[in-house]
């Protein structure tokens, strides 16, 4: 009778303690883990603790748990093989929550999918692509693949390329670009921006502009500066040349003895052969 009372008391005590710890964990998980994932972990913890305590104190009731453990072990192996992927995803999910390579709201690229992390669940991670599509990636894949976290650091660098004519003053162009960059609040002072001649191209002097910006602002700043620099350079007489275009005229020297009709026929044949050449190339 005394052992049975002990059994009831220990079990009740463990239920109360598990509830208190679950409440504490729920508060700790708030804003750190998604609600779905958090609740799953809490349930696993709560029921897992009670089951372990129940099995541990079962001998108090006079029952031998070794048979139960054996049966449980065999069932575990069978279930383990059957649910290998699910367990893999589950464990990866737990490690993702501990290691935290990504957080909800981060902009990431995982297995070729880019977008915002909308949820990290116990089995899978949800990504909202920039096109507004919902992609579900199993956690095992997330954990074992390369993750590019676009917003992992507070600032990032971007690059703009411009080609100006050889006749234009590259120093003046650099001065104008530096002035524009300096006026932009989100173009960071440190790490300092750089503007320089990168290459003497076939038809243009190629300039490169490298700017660091806060991670939340770089894309808008890049788009703004690209057009602003183009306009400013043109307003100051500095132009961006088109790439060189080579025109090739195909013609035969006409035979002096040819009549105008024969000449016309030959020209038509020539055009036809060029067209045929084009078709052959296309096919």
């Amino acid at each position: 009778m005394g052992d049975l009372l002990k059994f009831v008391l220990i079990l009740s005590f463990s239920i109360i303690i598990s509830r208190i710890i679950t409440l504490y964990l729920r508060r700790s998980f708030k804003d750190k883990v998604s609600k779905d994932a958090g609740e799953t972990i809490l349930k696993l913890f709560y029921y897992g603790t009670i089951i372990i305590v129940f099995i541990a104190i079962l001998p108090l009731t006079g029952l031998d748990p070794s048979g139960l453990l054996l049966a449980g072990g065999i069932t575990g192996i069978v279930l383990g093989f059957a649910s290998q992927n699910i367990v893999g995803n589950l464990i990866s999910g737990v490690f993702l929550m501990i290691e935290k390579p990504i957080k909800i709201g981060d902009q990431v690229e995982i297995s070729g999918t880019s977008g915002f992390v909308t949820d990290i669940r116990i089995i899978s991670t949800l990504i909202r692509t920039y096109d507004g599509l919902l992609v579900r990636i199993p956690n095992q894949q997330v954990f074992t693949t390369n993750i590019t976290n676009v917003v992992g650091y507070p600032a990032r660098r971007f690059e703009l390329k411009f080609g100006i004519r050889y006749s234009d003053d590259a120093d003046a162009a650099i001065f104008l670009i530096k002035d524009l960059v300096d006026k932009e609040p989100f173009a960071l002072l440190n790490p300092d921006p750089s503007v320089f001649v990168n290459e003497l191209g076939e038809s243009s002097v190629d300039l490169i502009v490298r700017i660091w910006a806060p991670i939340s602002e770089w894309a808008a700043l890049k788009n703004k500066l690209l057009w602003a620099i183009k306009k400013t350079l043109e307003e100051n007489g500095i132009e961006m040349p088109f790439p060189p275009q080579r025109l090739v005229y195909l013609h035969n020297v006409p035979d002096k003895n040819q009549t105008p009709e024969e000449l016309k026929q030959n020209q038509e044949k020539e055009i036809e052969s060029v067209l045929n050449y084009g078709e052959r190339v296309l096919t």
Partner: protein, 248 residues
Amino acid sequence: MYGNYDPPFSIEKEGISISVEELEKRWVYKRTLGTDTVEKLIIGDGKHIIISPVEPLNTPKEITPNLLIEFEKTLLLAAGARKKIFLTFPVEIGVFISDKGNKNLQILDVLTLARKKFTLYGPVSNGIICKHWKSGIYSVSPSPNPLQEGIMELTLRNTTSEWASISKAVFSAYGMRIFYDSDVFMRAHMDILNKNTAETGFELQHISGELKSFRPKEQETRKEAIEIYNRKLDFVPVSLTFDMRLGF
């Protein structure tokens, strides 16, 4: 320009034009600064408009609560020394609407005449984005344009046994205490804790009655500005400091 206004009113100063006028039984708030124009409709009577300096971290967009003041010249502070210096800081102008008695404050607009620029404090991997401001170091209080720049009285304390070379100071907007009258004023401190770490913070504005007698003279004559950042906190900050662990 700073102060309380009862609509309808219209003011113009330093290229800033602010007006609240009645139009078809509605109040229209209109602000112009250069090419930038803001218009808002206000529905409700008996409202006050308050124009006050605010923490300089709201324009052009609130992306960081940290202000980095870079000194024009590097300052060397002897071991164990304590020195009071004056700096300038950028001023942002906040326009608020409230019920009578300055209750139920709501921000309408924030603008600035000061230069807006951001920087990274520390390395790319673990640095922090800060609003940047470059200031001269003054031994007596300067007299800048109060709509553009404020005065910061900074007490430097070198608690180490070595010289400290100081070229910048980072302050958190949480805990900033701004006062204004004919100027805009802040009192701050910077304690050099070791070779690479400093602690910055702001002098407290005592709020309880019995502590009012301990208020510094400047704070008695100046009015306390409305703080946007401290209003975001659930509590009135007693002491908030910023650890400059990435060097000064």
